[in-house]
């Protein structure tokens, strides 16, 4: 028994050592690179306010992508959440639903964006589709966990009144989970704003497109404006959303 922790520590050390070697992680190389980072930062100053209008336009577009994508996904995830909750879905639905969700949830928003840009062309629209695709499956998972965590008491009580299965869901389950659902949607909106800022890198619209263009043109002062706008927007949405979420729970 007492050899357990030592053995675990030894194995962990070996694995970490191999990871450092295999990824070429090298503190010395990082130290040598630091001046370059400093130079990069120096060249970003001061931010070029000439591009502020286009940065704001891009940021707004990013927020729109996240908002529309999250809103559509919040609705699409509802039926999926119920059919993948163990305590309300029949086994015949539950197992395939879980499997399909787990498969699609392993694909990130950015990968979806690449696919949708190829399918429908450049612009914010493939970005919206990518946000919908990822958020639907991830919200469905969160919804189903909320449903699995409900108090079964009221569900039994509603069942005992002679209610149908749908009525039991509507009156016994939904009132218990709705505040949680809304809280998860807001949380997803926060993360989607962040995720949507990089969607532009692959041609799916928004602030990321401007950021990438400025970097390619080696216009670091313009890029820093775009970055600052992004940071401020993400912080603003986070603050607003977490305030709303506190009121829900």
């Amino acid at each position: 028994m007492s050899r357990g922790p030592a053995a675990v520590a030894f194995v962990a050390a070996v694995v970490l050592g191999w990871l450092v070697w295999d990824t070429g992680a090298d503190p010395v190389r990082l130290a040598r690179g630091l001046p370059w980072i400093a130079d990069f930062l120096r060249r970003m100053m001061p931010p070029d306010l000439e591009v502020l209008p286009s940065a704001l336009t891009g940021a707004l577009k990013t927020a729109e992508i996240a908002l529309l994508g999250t809103a559509v996904a919040a609705v699409l995830a509802l039926p999926l959440g119920f059919v993948s909750a163990r305590n309300v879905a029949p086994a015949a639905l539950f197992y395939p639903a879980r499997a399909i969700l787990n498969f699609f949830r392993s694909i990130d928003t950015l990968v979806y964006a690449l696919i949708f840009v190829a399918a429908v062309g450049l612009g914010p629209f493939p970005g919206v589709l990518a946000v919908i695709a990822y958020t639907t499956t991830s919200l469905a998972k969160l919804y189903s966990e909320a449903i699995e965590g409900i108090d079964p008491g009221p569900v039994g009580a509603i069942t005992a009144t002679g209610a149908t299965r749908l009525q039991v869901l509507r009156f016994g389950v939904l009132p218990q989970v709705l505040p949680l659902f809304l809280s998860y949607v807001l949380y997803r909106l926060e993360t989607n704003i962040r995720a949507a800022t990089v969607l532009g890198f692959v041609g799916a619209g928004g602030i990321g497109f401007y950021l990438q263009t400025y970097l390619r043109m080696i216009d670091y002062r313009a890029a820093s404006t775009a970055l600052l706008v992004t940071v401020l927007m993400v912080m603003a949405v986070d603050a607003l959303s977490s305030r709303l979420r506190r009121r829900l729970v």
């Binding site: 108090d151 039994g156 009580a157 509603i158 009144t161 209610a163 009525q167 509507r170 009156f171 009132p175």
Partner: protein, 261 residues
């Protein structure tokens, strides 16, 4: 179907007829082991027994919240065991149920909780969007008035005290216009003063509305004070069945099994 069979016995028709009821809870707990019981209309039956004796399982079998393993159950002449889903819902809407933990939807209003008692009667689609016919709203309000809480209709259920929440649960059962009310340890979460007020309320609906009550209790004094008939359960079997006056110390020992406690 079974109703067409000729009846040999004279009226009154039984409200509850249980024969050979056996319930095995997963994985292999024998909760009820061959229970036979007939309850007549208007009776106030208290099922007595210590926790784990099978009281809760018995009550939950009567409306099939728990699925019986063997045996038959009829309520108000209708076969509960073997009933198809739609028929089972039809049977359930005539059976009110009250729980130890009240089992209200805590975030919903008192009125919405009581309205849930009408779900078996109202049109399904409009109920899903929260619309209830005015006649059903009136029945819900009547139920609330009967338990003395009409003034709290708009409050959120979880802002009420425990005693008030149990009254709301009783109003929900009354809103079903039930023939039979099941109460599973309705006072176990309440202090003695509230216990008396809830049991008084149950007696009142038994006397005034003529409803049949089957109530489980682990407290013998409360059981004897309110029941018209006592059924003692121990280890999933009926060990006593008779009027409260017949419950002697020896009977209590038989039900509670002090010998092996």
């Amino acid at each position: 179907m079974g109703d067409a069979l000729p009846r040999t016995a004279a009226p009154p028709r039984a409200m509850v007829e249980v024969a050979g009821l056996r319930v095995v809870l997963p994985p292999d707990t024998v909760a009820l082991d061959g229970v036979d019981l007939t309850v007549l209309p208007g009776e106030f039956v208290v099922i007595l027994g210590r926790s784990g004796a099978g009281k809760s399982t018995f009550l939950r079998s009567l409306n099939r919240l728990v699925e019986p393993t063997a045996g038959s159950i009829r309520v108000d002449g209708r076969a509960v065991t073997g009933a198809a889903p739609a028929e089972l819902r039809e049977i359930r809407r005539h059976i009110g149920m009250i729980f130890q933990q009240f089992n209200l939807v805590r975030r919903a209003s008192v009125m919405d909780n009581v309205l849930a008692g009408r779900l078996g009667y109202v049109p399904m689609l409009s109920s899903l969007v929260g619309r209830f016919p005015s006649a059903d709203r009136q029945l819900a309000l009547d139920g609330l008035a009967q338990v003395g809480l009409a003034h709290l209709a708009a409050r959120r259920a979880d802002t009420l005290s425990g005693g008030e929440q149990q009254r709301v649960a009783i109003a929900r059962a009354l809103a079903q216009s039930p023939a039979l009310v099941l109460a599973d340890e309705p006072t176990a979460s309440l202090d003695p003063r509230l216990t008396a007020s809830i049991m008084d309320l149950l007696r009142r609906i038994n006397v005034e509305r003529g409803l049949t009550l089957v109530v489980s209790q682990h407290q013998i004094e409360t059981a004897l004070a309110y029941a018209t008939r006592i059924v003692g359960l121990r280890r999933g079997r009926v060990r006593f069945d008779g009027p409260p006056a017949a419950v002697t110390a020896a009977v209590a020992a038989e039900i509670y099994g002090e010998d092996d406690a």
